[in-house]
Subunit: 284 residues, 4 copies
């Protein structure tokens, strides 16, 4: 069992001396840095930094840490987040009928690979209730046919608050969330079953088959109000041939969907993803 | 050195007994089949077949073979091609300024990997003349700025005839051929530096970088009048990250462009590609 | 739902007219061929053929089919198998403590991707009994510490007979089966967590980490009496770097183990694998 | 054209405050850091750091830089190298008969992708002299059959000195260099045509074909006295099937050999490779 860590992510305008300033501050309180990674986006003139250090050896408490760094952030005009690896977030998973991404995520949680709790599973279909039960998650089904979307989204937002959900995963959820929903609850990862920006929108495998591509793809990305346009976290492709029917594309696609989504969630949970300029930097 | 072969490609409506009919005809003249591959596209209700047999043991001549099969083709309502591996085609390569695909193709020709002659290299820039000379190819440069496109294309078509060119390769040729040119000379393979259908058209690496994709791609395809819409023969992707600038994308892309184009040309030369319904079947 | 098929696999010395002979026989009874694939191994002078045709339109019964082809097989000196896609085999899965391959296989069975029944799960550890129960499989745990291996294997063989098991999958089963066991029950697929022939035997990830490889691998293969020397069905690799500890190798490896094993089982179930000369030909 | 940079690589026992100490020293003289990357190998208890900063804005000269850092290195018990991106090294390439890696490297040099000079090409076969001439490199052929190996190696070492060669690349050089040669001239990168540690030694493609692997590999590594045991820099694999003969493996292998070797040389030239404990850390 690894010791818990503090993870500091900083984004600020590039300027000399930043790495030293950040690490000095950590060292001055006796912090022992385990990982540090920095990147300068020269086009955006931005400095990105992720530093992880041991919480055990660290004498000051969370509030002091926050206030201490707030001062530095002001000086360097930085946005920052501070996270603790022993604070396990609650995560909601949204699904429709397909189970492969859901079961894959829940298996990785159970095995300790993804450090999160999944107390809540939301669906517009009743099919996956049994699976949710197997993993002790509350399953909430709403019927999108007979209800107002705005009303449904309001109820979902209430549930997300009730279960103290930090972020959500759309694990093959075949509904589009409204802009107002996203304004209320913006931290959402989606898996799209194509190599974006190719085949945005519905039925990407059918369209890929029709076009005769020789590779199909999967893309894990943050959700924004523009469909399939959010910052990309991970992408995978797999080879297909003329021998593959649409069903084969769907079958082969499931494997890269699962792996791409799982990796995106892992990176997100480890606070290894920076989002800026509608893109991501993934410090892996 | 392998014995030369006859290669018969047949496309016809699916119907019982086709494989037997084709192979019987070959066996009845004593043909020894080296490779045979068949595919039924159940959606298109089409049967595709490629059979390769030894030319040495085969007692009948090319004209007899053609006439003999023409009769069968009529009965089964088939389109077909017959090729001989000891007939090495003349191929023209079109380039602009970049040399990586050209040098790669010429190297593979010299090493015997691609069985074709390259007597003619055509360019809208003078830069690669030296390379053409190194490989004993005639280099024809025309200045696209000061001349009428239709006039230039007419001259190019004349050269293609003069050099008895069977097909052409656009090896990073940054000009668009007109529909009338393609009607006159349709057998052309292009390499596009993106994962089609993503980033059609110009500057795909710049747009890929801007979009923040995590993989970039290359697509080798037949040229049709609709830009970057032709039947795809081969596709590759390579991983990129936030650390990669546009220049890195271009550098990494060169490697998959070369390999994708070379593979497409190899498959084409071996008569392993079928084109139908704006797609390909690649019998590899 | 696809129509059920008959699948004929034939291996015999290469000789002219084989494809025609096989397809004639099928066509003569009105069989409509859906897929056919042939390969000549010129080194081994062997002809391999797999033909799949529609069972619905086929007027003769299984016994007649068998007897009919037996006659042909005699003439061409062939070994052959005939299988029916509507005969779903019973399969036993052997596990130890790790659950990722088991859960992956059971999920694919449930989703209809792998057409097999799994009535029996055998383990040298009690850990995965709950998972077996979730999928309605009998879980048999034996304690390898306190029992004679030969005695345990005898009991296992009895169970395999009792449950009418057609073949077995070692899904991270950390025991070696004896030669006498394999003689009694030879049809077994194993997943080894390295790129064979590198890192045969125990602790491949630890040894890979120590060696500083930049890719790790997984190999699905048939089990033979020589450890990790059996015919290879599928192999995968995944990139690793100096930032990956042994635990990361194990984590990344799980994904390729699952996918490689699942693909090998799919190919085996579809009768797409030929084994000869200690190698396989996989007709995919 | 990018500004030239200073690259400092440091390896020392892990201890608190290292990053700050290094970056402070650079910043104190007004250095503007362009890239910095650090890694702690917790198993080896080592800290690895690579920092790259702008040479233009830097007021102190090379000697001062060296002496300045020497002092720091003493305090933290570090080994270090300092390199300048405007110092282009002379590199010798060793070949036998195959040209694909050589032509690939020379093309990348000409295109500015690999920033090195290649004044010298050494071979135990005369075949590639023309290629060397095309790229203005001195070609030295020695006949290994009629001469003493120790005598030949002595002559080669003299040539390496004469041409001021900084490091060497074995681009399919089918000879083994002696331990005494390596002691004199240790900085050598080799490409081996297998996925090491599988198929060390001669004829890896033949042995891979015989074993029936489903992927073949290439490994770029530093040369040590133990054959094919040196620290690995890069590895690639490519899929093969039963349809591939040994010649196809050789053909497919050439592409991954070229790309793996080119990437290893690029990483080496950019001082992105650390070697320790018979492994590498590649800071890409």
């Amino acid at each position: 069992m690894e010791n818990p860590s503090i993870i500091l992510r900083t984004v600020c305008p590039d300027q000399p001396g930043l790495v030293c300033q950040l690490t000095s501050w950590i060292n001055s309180s006796g912090g022992n840095i385990k990982h540090s990674d920095h990147h300068t986006d020269q086009d955006a003139e931005l400095f990105l930094s992720r530093i992880e250090w041991d919480i055990n050896s660290y004498p000051i408490n969370k509030l002091e840490i926050f206030k201490g760094f707030q001062q530095i952030a002001k000086n360097i005009n930085a946005k920052f987040t501070i996270n603790y690896t022993d604070e396990i977030p609650n995560v909601a998973i949204f699904v429709s009928k397909q189970n492969h991404c859901l079961i894959d995520l829940l298996w990785r949680v159970r095995n300790g690979e993804l450090k999160m709790n999944v107390p809540l599973i939301i669906s517009n279909h009743p099919d996956l209730e049994g699976l949710a039960n197997d993993f002790n998650a509350k399953f909430i089904y709403y019927d999108a046919t007979y209800n107002q979307k705005s009303e449904i989204e309001k109820q979902i937002l209430n549930k997300l608050k009730l279960f103290d959900i930090k972020f959500a995963i759309l694990a093959k959820y075949m509904q589009i969330l409204s802009e107002s929903f996203l304004n209320e609850f913006p931290e959402i990862i989606n898996i799209h079953h194509s190599f974006l920006p190719a085949f945005k929108g519905s039925q990407p495998y059918h369209r890929a088959w029709k076009r005769g591509v020789k590779l199909i793809g999967a893309t894990a990305h943050y959700v924004t109000k523009d469909l399939d346009e959010g910052p990309i976290i991970d992408q995978r492709t797999v080879r297909v041939s003329h021998r593959d029917e649409v069903d084969d594309l769907i079958r082969k696609g499931r494997d890269i969907e699962r792996i791409s989504l799982a990796r995106a969630v892992l990176m997100h949970l480890n606070h290894q993803v920076f989002v800026y300029n509608r893109k991501t930097a993934v410090f892996d």
